[in-house]
């Protein structure tokens, strides 16, 4: 079992190394001079050349990679051409913002998606099932940024209940940095006003982001449960007179969640990428917006760092999914042991 997991983790590490090489090369071969782009077209050439030297862009590409890896192993991702400060500092500031939004989205996705899926399966072919199906289709067909604009229009324009930009309202003091997530930091520093304000700023963005995954989770859960309902072992338990509630939650839900959890895992990991437009619309200074702007401005150090972080997120989520699925499905645990 340990060997099984060691093999998995080493594979993932190899993937990370491969990803780092790929993104490093791509960021540097795409046309455009990052130093010139950063300093503007009117800056004298000698100033641009100085920046190129500072960023090691005058060195061969393999040497640049070696120096970069050396830096990364010491926690130094280099300097950002956009913010003009260290990428590590930027990530420390921006990653918690996106993490906070993604965590709330993920929670909504898991709880909302699975609940709607269960309801849809239990009351299949009723009006409730119909309503949930409509919600699911709407969630799947429209991307997150479209929902963001719709919700901004409804809750920002027609019914101005929620704030529409930033992470905190003007006048609210930022809590002391502990995790970088304002809701948690506010709670830890006892500033309930900040917690409430930060949460209000997260509602529309998080909800816009979660809809696609929530809809998918609901559909897959319903489909899986409906499929398992026809299995012999369920019929047998009904024949034994076991209450429906116990059948639903103990015997039906567990195996039905396997495909849902697998898809949810990928959806949650993809939230980081999907968050870009949502963050842009709400002027939410998070990692996704930071990463995409880096790509548009050819901020090569940031591009590499953000892609590596996203890679790490995908890998971590995959590991967690594997563990959960192994817990849910004994066959996988047994397979792992025999391997």
């Amino acid at each position: 079992m340990v060997w099984f997991w060691l093999k998995k983790v080493s594979t993932y590490l190899l993937v990370l190394v491969g990803l780092s090489i790929l993104i490093f090369i791509i960021a540097r071969v795409v046309p455009g001079d990052p130093a010139r782009l950063a300093l503007g077209p009117r800056t004298p050439e000698e100033t641009v050349q100085r920046l190129r030297q500072e960023m090691n862009l005058d060195k061969p590409i393999y040497l640049q990679y070696v120096l970069w890896v050396e830096g990364v192993l010491h926690g130094d991702f280099g300097k950002s051409l956009m913010t003009r400060r260290s990428v590590s500092e930027d990530i420390r500031e921006f990653l918690p913002a996106t993490l906070e939004m993604v965590m709330i989205s993920a929670l909504l996705m898991i709880v909302g998606g699975i609940t709607l899926g269960i309801l849809s399966a239990k009351f299949s072919d009723t009006w409730l099932d119909g309503v949930i199906r409509i919600i699911s289709y709407l969630g799947i067909v429209a991307p997150a940024f479209v929902w963001a604009i719709i919700f901004m229009f409804v809750f920002g324009y027609l019914l101005p209940i929620f704030p529409i930009t930033g992470r905190l309202s003007y006048g609210i003091i930022e809590p002391k940095f502990i995790t970088g997530m304002y809701t948690i930091d506010g709670l830890l520093s006892g500033s309930l006003n900040t917690v409430k304000d930060a949460f209000m700023h997260l509602v529309i963005p998080a909800f816009s982001l979660c809809l696609g995954g929530l809809a998918q989770a609901a559909r897959i859960t319903r489909s899986s449960m409906t499929d398992n309902m026809t299995k012999d072992y369920i019929s047998a338990q009904k024949a034994y007179g076991i209450p429906e509630r116990i059948i639903l939650f103990r015997f039906l839900l567990k195996p039905s969640l396997i495909p849902t959890i697998s898809v949810l895992g990928l959806d949650i990991a993809a939230l980081f990428g999907n968050a870009f437009l949502v963050e842009l619309i709400f002027n939410f200074s998070g990692l996704s917006k930071y990463g995409i702007q880096a790509m548009l401005n050819k901020d090569i150090n940031v591009i590499s760092a953000v892609v590596m972080i996203l890679g790490l997120v995908f890998i971590s989520v995959n590991i967690v999914i594997d563990i959960i699925v192994a817990f849910l499905d004994p066959r996988i645990r047994l397979m792992g042991r025999s391997a």
Binding site: G32, L37, T47, G156, Y157, I164, T165, Y170, Q293
Partner: protein, 547 residues
């Protein structure tokens, strides 16, 4: 006895409360007295680094300069009360105003001015390009006199000083990062610290910076220029430029002035919101189609003139870039030194055909298609490219259109062969005078850059431009500019499409914005980039907010 002590204690408590209350009252600023603006991000508040639109808006509000621009393009004394120019035009002496305070409370002296210019030149970023190669030395002669020596005579030098923002030497030097020696003994020259702090003396001081989100400025009560009672207590500049976000913020009165990059439909929608007005004004930029004069077929002057006569300028300003004005020539019409009496090309198919017949390519047009590039970051340029293609087809000229990111256009501009025949590009003057456009656009020094994809390389023209810029007398200098403009028009290296109109929506019901007032009065003005957003001269009336 006890009652006396008790009375004394009560008196002390009352006095204490009064003092605290008075102090608190004095310190409390009205948070509703704020001007919130949006502009493209990032924003650099360091005068030696920033030079883009949002940077300049921040800089003009946080810092002072030696001179300040007037709406007619001239300058007036600011930190410098007066100046002397030597007879040979190479030495300038500026006399510094006494009693100007930095945000730290220290007085601004000649030493700070000299430090700021030297710092700008050493770092070489931001607006340094205006002074590199121009300035020989900057020295503080005494506490209130600074001497600037030039390498060559430069007529518009004083005008260009609107871009030299003054920082406090003491504060910057106390915050340099000595772990790096990129600038020798000056370490990083305070660049890291100035990302999130300011060392200025301007009407506002930096209160808060959230990277990638906003900067917040707070009124500097001791500003030497004084304050109107309705001047805003705060200004906020944020990067939330998404059209939906801007429109919602304007509707909710959570933003006072928009950026200039909104789509036309958004301005039209905002104009319908109660209390909101949309204003347009010429901002000094113009849109050109640059023609590569060293590459067939645009290397032929008659071919170029044919193109200049065939394009439909009216469609451009009436249907694509609304509110803009058809160009008068190589210099934006309201720039000081622009000669608006010169005749420019207009759509005339007959003249276009006549010119084309004189061209050496007339009989084999099919072998010489025009390769045209437009900038991907400005989607509306595609419409101009398509219009140009359609208009050229009337002459039998084939145009091949390519969309490219601006970075790729900069790379293409580096050699004659890689520069396309035609490129659509916005150009802006380096400073508010015709010379600022003529030199960067047509002097050989700018060939190989995006600012001159024409590859004119005319030594006679170079000499004329240098001579004009070296002329100290303004009237004489402007006369020389006029001759240069006429020569360039005759050479026809460019199709000058329009002078750009900048549009912004603002809360007219509770904000007084001097720029908007000039527009409403029909006044012709030219404010350099950033100065239309000078918050000190604005007024805000929070009690007039409807919501």
């Amino acid at each position: 006895m006890l009652s006396k002590i008790r009375k004394a204690m009560i008196l002390v408590m009352i006095l204490g409360i009064l003092v605290i209350g008075a102090t608190a009252a004095a310190q409390t600023k009205d948070e509703n007295s704020i001007i919130r603006m949006t502009e493209d991000w990032p924003t650099y508040c360091d005068p030696a680094v920033g030079s883009d639109f949002s940077d300049t808006i921040a800089l003009v509000n946080l810092h002072d300069t030696l001179v300040f621009p007037n709406p007619d393009g001239s300058v007036r004394p600011q930190v410098a009360t007066k100046w002397d120019i030597s007879e040979d035009g190479l030495t300038y002496k500026f006399y510094i105003r006494k009693g100007v305070k930095f945000h730290s409370g220290n007085e601004l002296t000649a030493e700070d001015v000299a430090f700021s210019m030297n710092r700008l030149l050493t770092i070489g970023e931001g607006y340094a390009y205006l002074y590199k190669g121009v300035i020989e030395s900057v020295t503080a002669l005494d506490r209130y006199t600074v001497e600037i020596k030039l390498n060559n005579k430069f007529g518009p030098f004083v005008s260009s000083l609107i871009r030299m923002f003054i920082v406090e030497k003491q504060v910057v030097m106390a915050n340099i990062d000595k772990t790096t020696d990129i600038y020798g003994e000056f370490g990083d020259y305070g660049k890291q610290w100035l990302l999130t702090n300011d060392a200025g003396s301007g009407p506002y001081k930096l209160k808060d910076v959230k990277m990638e989100e906003y900067i917040l400025g707070e009124k500097f009560d001791d500003y030497w220029g004084g304050w109107d009672k309705d001047a805003p207590e705060y200004f906020k500049l944020s990067g939330a430029c998404e059209p939906t976000t801007v429109r919602t913020a304007i509707f909710r009165q959570e933003q006072e002035i928009t950026d200039e990059m909104q789509p036309m439909e958004n301005y039209e929608a905002m104009a319908k919101i109660e209390g909101v007005e949309v204003v347009s004004y010429i901002n000094g930029n113009n849109l050109n189609i640059t023609l590569n004069t060293k590459k067939p077929p645009t290397d032929d002057i008659h071919f170029r003139k044919a193109l200049a006569y065939v394009i439909d300028y009216e469609v451009v300003v009436n249907n694509i870039f609304l509110y803009s004005k058809i160009s008068n020539g190589p210099v934006t019409a309201n720039l000081p030194g622009a000669d608006n009496s010169l005749k420019l090309y207009k759509k005339d198919l007959e003249k276009a055909k006549e010119e084309l017949k004189l061209s050496k390519y007339y009989n084999n047009l099919k072998d010489y298609p025009i390769r045209m590039t437009w900038c991907a970051e400005v989607p509306d340029e595609e419409k101009i490219a398509l219009l140009f293609q359609a208009n050229c087809a009337e002459l039998g000229i084939n145009v091949e259109i390519t969309k490219k990111p601006f970075g790729a256009m900069i790379a293409d501009a580096q050699t004659v062969d890689t520069t396309p025949n035609a490129s659509i590009v916005f150009v802006a003057p380096s400073y508010i005078e015709a010379g600022g456009m003529l030199k960067t656009r047509y002097h050989s020094i700018s060939t190989g850059t995006w600012e001159q994809m024409e590859w004119v390389q005319d030594s006679e023209l170079d000499a004329q431009i240098e001579d004009a810029l070296a002329t100290i007398d303004k009237a004489e200098r402007f006369k020389k500019y006029s001759e240069i403009q006429k020569k360039i028009i005759d050479l026809c290296p460019t199709i000058w499409l329009f002078d750009q109109a900048e549009r912004r929506a603002y809360q007219a019901s509770y904000v007084y914005w001097p720029t908007a007032e000039m527009v409403k009065k029909g006044q012709i003005f030219i404010n350099p980039m950033g100065y239309n957003n000078y918050v000190h001269d604005m007024k805000v009336f929070p009690e007039k907010r409807s919501k």
